[in-house]
Assembly symmetry: C2
Homo-oligomer: 491 residues x 2
């Protein structure tokens, strides 16, 4: 008879494209999000945490990003036949929530939300299938004051988490101005949608391709370094000039930029409307005290998403960092958003104007760490070592005394036989202090306190004599343990 097969052991692995977060990766992010929530709350935004799971029907089957129509969601079928899926962003669920609860919500509805979203796409280096988003949106108002307010709030938010004024800039543009430019360049009409898409994506790549690359994409097309050819929008020279002029319309003063844009969209109603909206936002921000040192009008910002219908905005960090190739580059974009007026309509049939911003949580956290604005190593606990297993109650008492005084502390819970392992453990925990009470110390009513940070410093620099004097270890009476630990921690 064949032996019954043994069930093989499961592999201990995160699924491909997923990751775990440990220690400060979790707490630093929580701290940052809490600071952000504080600003959002002050602006009158209410918290929302929608279900992580939506019906596929409510989500829409695809991401709205025209660049990547095949990006999918994680979906499964219920026993009753319904298809459910994990949300891929926070905007589609907001549209669903607003449509579902609109009679109970204040109108306009300002809400913020923070949490994970999931994308069923090919994982790659630094590209995960679960990541955090932090969004703030105002639903139910067409007023430019809503867009202006979100830009001001974004500015306050960046400063609240530790980005200094001058180290960031928020750029505002308006899709209607761009549509006006397209109209003037002969790309109006339903039959030109594909060409408009090409132009939009070309402008969005200005940073990467430079003016010549964009120009090629506006015309016949562009061959990249690998030899691949991307078909262009087929604009003639004078039409392409108009679009190039649009990207180049930024002037030192916002009023001059607006004047230049007005020239460019001459003859287009939608263009003129866009320019007027930009002017209105600029005036509101000016009145609220947000000048060009924080927020500027910049026509080169278009934002990839197809669903934006009016103002678009983006926050960029302007300080230098080293990229993977060791080159010095600006840190770049950490947040963006804009006005989208059609998302709720899918559910209700009524157009509901809305505008909102999404912060790239991982990017912003990386920026704070790159500039040491948030702590990346955590001080470990005071470790009470175990010299005598039978006296665990004594050690437990010590650790309770420290914890009750608000000090992070642990008793060593591994096998206490090898004392070296206990010190290795304290080292791995990044413990500032180890406490030792052997039988001899117990008898004499004292404890040994090792200052591990000082010890490590001395070990690096001290002479043999200094080292032998062991200046990082102190013997104190047991009843002075707490005071001595506090003294060392407060140094």
């Amino acid at each position: 008879m064949a032996k019954p097969k043994k069930t093989p052991r499961p592999k201990a692995q995160t699924p491909k494209g997923f990751r775990d977060y440990f220690g400060t990766d979790v707490t630093d992010r929580a701290e940052m999000l809490q600071a952000i929530a504080g600003v959002y709350h002050r602006y009158g935004f209410d918290a929302l945490e929608s279900s992580a799971v939506e019906t596929v029907e409510a989500l829409g089957k695809f991401l709205p990003d025209v660049d990547r129509p095949n990006e999918g969601v994680f979906a499964w079928q219920e026993e009753d036949g319904d298809w459910l899926a994990l949300r891929y962003d926070m905007t589609a669920p907001l549209a669903r929530v607003y449509a579902q609860h609109r009679n109970d919500l204040p109108n306009p509805y300002r809400r913020y939300t923070m949490g994970p979203v999931w994308r069923n796409e090919k994982p790659g280096p630094g590209r995960f299938r679960q990541f955090y988003q932090c969004d703030a949106d105002t639903v139910g108002t067409a007023s430019m004051a809503a867009d202006a307010e979100i830009c001001a709030m974004l500015s306050d938010t960046l400063e609240a988490v530790g980005i200094q004024r001058g180290d960031y800039v928020i750029r505002i543009n308006n899709r209607k101005v761009l549509n006006g430019v397209m109209e003037v360049a002969g790309l109006a009409g339903d039959d030109k949608e594909a060409e408009r898409g090409v132009v939009l994506r070309a402008i969005d790549k200005l940073d990467r391709l430079g003016p010549d690359g964009v120009r090629a994409l506006l015309g016949e097309g562009r061959k990249d370094d690998s030899g691949d050819f991307t078909k262009g929008a087929g604009l003639g020279d004078s039409e392409a000039d108009i679009v190039m002029g649009f990207m180049d319309a930024k002037r030192d003063a916002g009023t001059e930029t607006v004047a230049r844009l007005r020239e460019l969209v001459q003859g287009s109603d939608i263009g003129a409307q866009g320019v007027a909206e930009l002017e209105e936002i600029a005036a509101l921000l000016d009145a609220a005290g947000y000048g060009p040192d924080r927020i500027i009008i910049d026509p080169s910002i278009v934002r990839g998403l197809g669903y934006y219908t009016g103002p678009v905005y983006e926050a960029e960090l302007t300080f230098d960092v080293q990229n993977e190739k060791g080159q010095t580059v600006q840190f770049g974009s950490v947040a963006g958003g804009g006005r989208y007026d059609d998302l709720v309509k899918r559910f209700t049939g009524q157009e509901v104007p809305a505008t909102g911003v999404s912060i790239g949580v991982d990017r912003l956290l990386a920026a704070l760490r790159a500039t040491n604005r948030i702590g990346t190593t955590e001080q470990g606990p005071v470790v009470v070592t175990v010299m005598d297993r039978a006296r665990m109650a004594d050690y437990q008492q010590m650790v309770a005394e420290l914890r009750n005084a608000g000090i992070r502390a642990e008793v060593y819970l591994g096998n206490p036989k090898n004392f070296g392992n206990q010190l290795k453990y304290a080292d791995k925990r990044n413990a500032p202090i180890a406490i030792i009470e052997g039988g001899d110390e117990k008898e004499r009513g004292v404890v040994q306190i090792k200052d591990l940070y000082l010890g490590a410093k001395i070990a690096e620099t001290a002479t043999h004599e200094e080292w032998a004097g062991n200046p990082s270890q102190f013997e104190v009476p047991r009843d002075q343990m707490l005071a001595k630990v506090q003294e060392i921690l407060n140094q």
Copy 2:
């Protein structure tokens, strides 16, 4: 030609069994979890946020709860054939994380985690398919000090979130004692596993069924009110007496309880070991200052999950609340856990001892609200009304001034035409104050400040004369707006 079918509008609905959380539902929970994380951190526990998605293989196909083997997970198949699923608890992912990262983690590893879990079960009233768990576990030590520490930490945690001493009790028991009792009652051996399961579940239902109901389940079985019959464990009278005596073994002093348990398990090695473990935990807690006003030994606690192998513990809130039927009952259990030594073994083949606790986040939050220990209504923002749409910049300036002073404030962004709607909006937002600046006020350099809370109070009680005097509305010079708002808010 047939008209092309119009795509029907998607339904704006959360999937069945899922829900959205609004405003204080989100922020109160975040506040509570932050307080809990503070205590856990002080105890030396490190944060972990594992991926929400696991391979089905890593999770194991079913929940470990023997009572409900058909409870499922939300799972789907990847293109490459792998099955993935949403985590259903925090313990299975911990076992995977520990097995995967054990060479990099401190050993023993203390970790806490908080986040949503998902259960693919039939939704019912108050029974959701996504909910929060908040767990703390110590992996890699068999020391009873780890169990004692978690009970002490649970006590500190309850007090940190606002449950007062005397309003809760943490009960500790040991599965080995129970196994000893079963042995003495003739239920040892592999062939009696089903009977042991029946006994375990019967004890767990003591609260609900009372001693007679449990006794019936220990014997032939029990017919419930609906007439359904549940088969019992088939114990004879004297064996059932032993089990009943176990549940009834609690005495006023822990030492007496332990002595009684020792009697009951006489002749069983495993039982004696369990009693010794209970004694050790009691001694450690005593040394750390956690007396029977906080933590007691209580043999009636068994915990449902099959995987516990030693100490089990449960936190119960002892104050009275009204249940759905209007009866006065104790609030009951809000957290529980115990020692489980086999979970990591699935991955590595090596037994890794572990112990941990899970807090029922929604239950604890409900308890804090029931006792007014956490705010359930949020103060809304100061609402700056819009009397003249063309002067939005003025209103934006006011709101910026308030926000810069740290005051939660909004400008009204809806259609300003109907002033009544603006006041209705302020009311819906629970705004403490509305600010009004019409053309007349602007000319005179003043603003109107309405104290809405005072106004509502006056409206309830005032005579017509008092009401006409309008004592809740103040006119102040524009440059004293901020000071007056601060004065009202600080009252």
